[in-house]
Symmetry: C2
Subunit: 452 residues, 2 copies
């Protein structure tokens, strides 16, 4: 008891200290995070510099890390052109969209012991961060900066502020060695900020060209996911069609894991997310086998692709994993998936193991054919305006009615109520792990009542 | 597009591999986690040993860590008795509960260069893991094992299976060097499992004495939180009163951070939880200053104590932190806390910063005097059976009525519906961060409509 009392008094004293911090942070900048006080403009770098002078122990520890470089990049290398590229599918459509750039050769980097890299040209390269932040983004910038300056000390690197909109408005900072050094190995995209603007109108393309010409950019590196890389390709085509010297380079960053191919082993973002999720999910697995009383249902990111869940399953070995693509291929219904979980739990119960770990991607129920059919019918029924629960039940066909009545009432009502601006049912708002927990609990209770 | 297609095909192949894993795991043991195939009995250790032969890279990396030992424990030391202990408060009551042990001397370890520790007696010591698992538990066991065996190779360490119930039933394993080595620096409590049984009946105390006598225990180490340490004290008193030689040692493990005093700088569990939470919360802070479009509301563990939130606030510097004890001391109402958040958001908006980080302990609203008053009245009103929303509104006093109507309707209805077996309103089921998100959004919309 004395421990509690001492600790509570202590806590109050520290709470006061924390409150002071809060007031400071609320009126000033969140300086501890290295956040710039204002955005845009030439003084951006100076302000960031000021705010990163006081480094936390974590910041310092991360700075001391030296990323491993591929041996090729540590020495001298040259660019070697290979076969012409093509498209996996829709070749004619894609050729039509990119008449100038379609069919460019692949390029490979190969060792070149003849010419030292320090003899390179002065290059002026811009970069832009797009979409959600991912650990590794600041290291793309560091690597770019280091390489250009190893080639020629007079090279320049420009960072566009707050995503692609910074290209259109011409808002950027010139990156200095001091700035790069402060952000090496640090997570987040806060050196220059990120954004989700798409460059699509003729005006925006004209603005982007004006910026590229004003800065005399030799290159523009777009760091982002599938949408951003598509946008980068459109920008590259536009620059080339207008005779600009600016080459556009797409750098694959995505949490979804959907930018893999024979040239891209792994995108950053996906790498971090699956490691963090695997650690947390693995901890829940250890909790299950330590306390021996809980089934953990874990929902992971992944709506149209289940790559994250698959990778986490391979790392943590749960007792059951749902993979959206597999559910779709096997045409598994919601009831079948619930039954698979119920049977797992009952089988483990027979072994005296009333605990376990089940993981699933957030979008898994959208892969189920019966859920899909129900959503289509609900959209039709609800399009005419307010309809009661009982009226909905009557209007559904037999299969969808069974499913609708099988859903816990709160989830069924959520589907009816929570519609998007077009009036469509928002199945994506359903928290799938909670749905499964409730349906599995109900089914277990039913089987228990039936004497199983 | 080709990247997506390749990746999806790839995913299907891996999904099949994962499905195979699932079937294996569902019928066999989750061997990858080092889980024992069956529990209890003398063959427990052998089975665990079998299941830890195949070590993952993470397991191996953790094994290679060498914890830092306090210099005193690295050399020879002896135990020195000091002043008699007492109680911070309720001295007479506590003396009455522990007539044999009350007033024991404090003890200190001091260097002793005269006698080498290897000359110690053979000791037989049991241990039990209690409550939620925490990183560090297996290292308490390793440290105990190492020290006893350094003193005398013939010492024995016994681990009771699945928590305090293992003491009563006499279910244990004898810990071997091989077993300890497999669990060094590993999280979880799965070497022997954990449990939450309290030893309280005369029969249970008699069973515990029988086990201690049968195993000729010199000591019993109870690794757990405040309840478990109270139980350890009762067990110690009972053993002493019956003349057993078994000394009971409490080892403070808790996530709540409420076992701190001048002798306990930090409990394990709290240390891990605040580090993990700080990393995740800090990541959200970086997300906020990178994407510059989101206010993150983070709910952290902590119902009756806000120590975790306080520690995470000190590590991550959010823009606003609610501390339950501070809310209580200042008698802050729910509306006042919502207004503080709204004003923070508006002030930051004026600076062009439409993003930020707000953190709070899960139990914070239970510290608010107006919420407390509302709950009392709801308990009275709902005790008589089913009452409609409108009837509840009429029966509340003016202050509670205002608060009840201020709550988003879904939360108000949840309070009415979701009651515990005694019929009491379960404010603890309210997800406080969602409540604040909705109330803050509503208030911001209201002020916007009012032209602010």
């Amino acid at each position: 008891m004395s421990a509690v009392a001492t600790s509570a008094a202590d806590a109050m004293a520290r709470a006061k200290a924390a409150a002071t911090n809060v007031l400071h942070a609320a009126t000033g900048a969140a300086a501890a995070n290295g956040e710039p006080a204002t955005r845009g403009g030439a003084d951006h770098a100076a302000r960031i510099h000021q705010s990163v002078v006081h480094r936390s122990p974590l910041h310092a520890a991360r700075l001391s890390y030296r990323p491993r470089m591929p041996p090729l990049l540590r020495g001298c290398f040259q660019v070697l052109e290979g076969d012409a590229t093509s498209a996996e599918s829709d070749e004619d459509t894609i050729r039509g969209l990119f008449p100038v750039l379609f069919g460019q050769p692949t390029v490979a980097l190969v060792p070149n012991r003849g010419t030292p890299v320090t003899m390179g040209n002065v290059l002026r390269v811009g970069f832009v961060l797009s979409g959600g932040p991912a650990s590794g983004g600041h290291n793309v910038i560091s690597g770019l900066f280091d390489h250009l300056h190893e080639r020629n000390m007079d090279s320049k690197v420009f960072g566009f502020i707050d995503g692609p909109s910074g290209i259109c408005t011409g808002t950027y900072i010139e990156v200095t060695a001091e700035l790069v050094d402060a952000f090496r190995n640090q997570g987040g995209f806060h050196m220059v900020g990120s954004g989700r603007t798409k460059i699509h109108s003729p005006e925006q393309f004209a603005q982007a060209r004006a910026t590229a010409e004003k800065l005399q950019l030799d290159g523009l590196v777009v760091i982002g996911g599938d949408d951003s890389n598509t946008n980068a390709m459109l920008l590259a085509e536009d620059f080339a069609a207008h005779g600009l010297k600016t080459r556009v380079i797409g750098c694959p960053k995505t949490i979804d894991g959907d930018l893999r191919n024979q040239h891209v082993e792994m995108s950053f973002g996906f790498d971090t997310a699956t490691k963090v999720y695997s650690e947390l999910t693995g901890n829940l697995g250890l909790d299950a086998i330590s306390a021996k009383k809980t089934f953990h249902f874990v929902r992971l990111m992944g709506r149209s692709a289940s790559h994250i869940t698959l990778e986490v399953a391979l790392q943590t070995h749960p007792n059951l994993t749902l993979i959206g693509e597999e559910v779709e291929a096997k045409k598994q219904t919601l009831a079948q998936c619930v039954n698979a979980m119920v049977e797992l739990i009952m089988e483990r119960g027979k072994l005296g193991k009333n605990y376990g770990l089940i993981i699933l991607p957030e979008g898994v129920i959208e892969f189920m054919p019966d859920v899909w059919a129900l959503i289509q019918q609900l959209n039709d029924i609800l399009a005419g305006g307010s309809v009661s629960f009982d009226q909905v039940v009557v209007k559904l066909d037999a299969q969808s009615r069974n499913l609708f009545l099988l859903l816990p009432r709160t989830f069924a009502e959520q589907l009816m109520m929570d519609r998007d601006p077009h009036g469509n049912v928002q199945v994506s708002k359903i928290e799938s792990e909670r749905l499964f927990i409730e349906m599995v609990s109900n089914e277990l209770a039913k089987r228990k009542a039936d004497g199983e």
